[in-house]
């Protein structure tokens, strides 16, 4: 099967009004959470390696509204947007980021390793490419279970050049696993421009090498992103196998907090920021009569309050006790 351009035109699935608003809610949550994160690091109240997702809000928001709670996601260090969209609770997330015992992982994982199985958020990895082989395994389990669950494997454009990408796509296609490979192509891998690391102009073209459908989509357009995700997820649920989605986007704030962006041109950065998908989509919702200004403002205020509450909760929480240092190494804790 060759690279396909599908999920377009009249056949494309469209989110209903409630779903459109829900996509916006998730986008706004991600945006506000990102702003709060950068602010708190700047203030010196929290220290952590932070990989801003600002500019990439659409991708997980438009994907995740197609998912059930028991569907799974695997993501990477730049994955807090994926986690939030999937429903990881804010308090536990913030407590984890703050290294508190009330965090998702009792403070032991940190921002690069958020995990919350109750939300289907199974893995955050710090090793480029590693979300994919493990996502395959979750999908394989679902297939064995005949559960119709799907798994999303998120990764970056840079990750498409590492061995794990190749092995994972081949196996997933061969075994027709219910997994969707979502390449969030923000055009940079750390300081390296896309074209200096990747030998093909579109990562989706690699799908043909695995007999898998591959599609490049505007990852900043909620409607297109929704339609493409919807089709890929349905195919996976129906046992028709994996899809490679390359979602085009841009990260506004460098690779990691503190990075000074020297490797981007001012033009491309300001063009991307001018096309900020969050306010654009907001305006569209209002213009299309899907939501009123008041409704969205209320929703945003509510999110702001939730984030404030989560930060307060996190900072008021205890640090993990020292026993946690050697707990959870084995299931029977304390061994060795």
């Amino acid at each position: 099967m060759a690279t396909t351009s599908y999920a377009t035109g009249a056949n494309a699935a469209q989110p209903d009004a409630a779903t459109q608003i829900e996509i916006y809610r998730r986008m706004n949550l991600i945006m506000q959470n990102d702003e709060a994160s950068r602010k708190i690091i700047r203030s010196g109240r929290l220290m952590m390696p932070y990989y801003s997702q600002r500019g990439q809000e659409v991708i997980p928001s438009a994907i995740s509204v197609n998912l059930n709670d028991d569907d799974k996601i695997c993501t990477i260090y730049r994955g807090i947007h994926d986690m939030l969209a999937k429903g990881v609770p804010l308090r536990a997330l913030w407590a984890e980021i703050a290294g508190r015992v009330t965090g998702t992982c009792k403070g032991k994982g940190g921002p690069m390793h958020i995990t919350h199985p109750a939300s289907g958020a199974i893995l955050t990895t710090g090793i480029v490419g590693s979300s994919m082989p493990i996502a395959n395994g979750l999908a394989w389990a679902a297939k064995l279970d005949k559960s119709r669950q799907v798994t999303i494997a998120n990764f970056g454009d840079g990750a498409s050049n590492i061995g794990a990408f190749h092995e994972s796509l081949n196996l997933a296609s061969l075994w027709k696993l219910p997994v969707i490979f979502v390449c969030q192509n923000n055009r940079f891998a750390e300081h390296t421009r896309y074209e200096n690391g990747t030998s093909v102009d579109q990562i989706s073209k690699r799908a043909a090498g695995y007999g898998m459908p591959g599609i490049t989509v505007d990852g900043n357009d909620p409607y297109e992103m929704y339609a493409v995700a919807n089709e890929a997820i349905n195919r996976a649920r129906d046992g028709e196998g994996p899809t490679l989605i390359e979602a085009m986007t841009f990260r506004f704030f460098g690779h990691v907090f503190g990075d000074d962006d020297f490797y981007m041109t001012k033009e491309e950065k300001s063009a991307a920021m001018a096309a900020d998908p969050v306010p654009l989509y907001r305006a569209k919702l209002i213009a299309n009569g899907v939501a009123t200004e008041e409704k969205l403002a209320a929703l945003e205020a509510d999110i702001a309050a939730q984030i404030a509450d989560a930060i307060e909760f996190a900072l008021a929480s205890d640090m993990p006790p020292l026993e946690e240092l050697t707990r959870d190494v084995y299931a029977e804790q304390g061994v060795a």
Binding site: I134, A141, L174
Partner: protein
């Protein structure tokens, strides 16, 4: 030993058969036990030496699955399926091939329980064979158990005989954490009289196969058979050896080893892996600390010289710890 125990029903089986039986019993007992690896299904011959032979025919192709040559994807699939509720027995054909899957093993399988604060666990067994002496050369023969023992979160199991292989595999499969199960090719094919029913052998417990008073010899995997031969040779000279088969390298059975060496006052540790920075170092370092002033001789370590595994037979035989070498080391502790 009671009369009843003496009448345990036995049959002659090899380590290959023992592991095969253990996996089959585990699959029978729990439908969540699944197997994957290169050529493991019967369509592909049930494994290159037949360890998984018959399993796909008996339990279905869904539960025993051959893979492409794709070790990262194999271990990744095992990890994901394990988190998804399965107990996965993954084969990496030879131990050296773990090098193409180390990220999955070390950064993920070993760490996910800890990094998730106990929310996700990875109950997988990674089986692999290795060992010099069969002319496979530098890239197919290494013993790398020290790496995995140095990696918190992994367990490392290395049986020397069919009964242990079976009992340890039964425990490894039901263990909630990742277990590296290392099989020595040289020990694969020899049939041993083995109980028909083998109970799970707890991980982390060594076995004292022979009590003695003069010197403790600690070993594992195929080298343990050489240690046993060495003990027999030493007995002829009136040297009483206490023989310990470590069986599990991590966590290792400190209590049993320390108690034995406390009694004998002398210890020799022998393994096939390179001596420098090998497993023997940890044991010797522990013994000198725990039994300071109680040792009658320095703890002796035997392992491979600091070199790659050579092809040529003469060199290859010289590479592997020998019975004579163990005998000499034990004697040296008594000198």
């Amino acid at each position: 030993m009671s009369a009843a125990e003496n009448k345990i029903e036995t049959k002659k089986i090899t380590i290959i058969q023992a592991i095969n039986e253990a996996i089959a019993e585990a699959m029978e007992a729990d439908p969540k036990v699944i197997v994957l690896g290169e050529d493991v299904a019967d369509r592909e011959g049930g494994g290159v030496v037949g360890v998984t032979r018959g399993l796909s025919t008996r339990f279905g192709d869904d539960r025993v699955r051959s893979t492409p040559i794709t070790e990262q994807a194999i271990i990744g699939a095992a990890i994901g399926a394990a988190i998804g509720g399965y107990k996965v027995v993954a084969e990496i054909m030879l131990m050296n091939f773990t090098t193409v899957a180390m990220d999955m093993i070390v950064n993920h399988a070993a760490k996910l329980r800890f990094m998730s604060g106990g929310q996700t666990g990875v109950p997988i067994v990674i089986r692999m064979m290795t060992g010099a002496g069969i002319s496979s050369g530098g890239q197919h023969s290494d013993f790398l158990e020290a790496w995995f023992a140095h990696t918190p979160g992994l367990k490392v199991v290395m049986p020397s005989n069919p009964e242990d292989a079976k009992g340890l595999m039964l425990s490894a499969i039901t263990d909630p954490d990742p277990v590296m199960f290392v099989e020595c090719t040289r020990a694969y094919f020899t049939p041993y009289e083995t109980p028909v029913k083998v109970a799970p052998i707890p991980l982390g417990k060594a076995k004292v196969t022979q009590e003695g008073t003069d010197v403790t010899i600690i070993s594992y995997s195929e080298i343990f058979l050489r240690a046993t031969a060495a003990a027999a040779a030493l007995a002829k000279d009136g040297i009483s050896v206490e023989l310990i088969d470590l069986r599990t390298i991590s966590p290792w059975d400190r209590a049993t080893v320390i108690a034995s060496v406390k009694k004998t006052g002398r210890a020799v540790i022998a393994h096939e892996a390179v001596k420098q920075f090998g497993v023997g170092a940890e044991i010797a370092a522990t013994l000198q600390e725990e039994l300071f002033g109680q040792l009658k001789a320095p703890v002796k370590r035997l392992g491979a010289p600091y070199t790659s595994v050579p092809f040529s037979g003469v060199l290859e035989q010289a590479f592997i710890v020998s019975v004579a070498g163990i005998v000499a080391a034990a004697r040296a502790t008594l000198a």
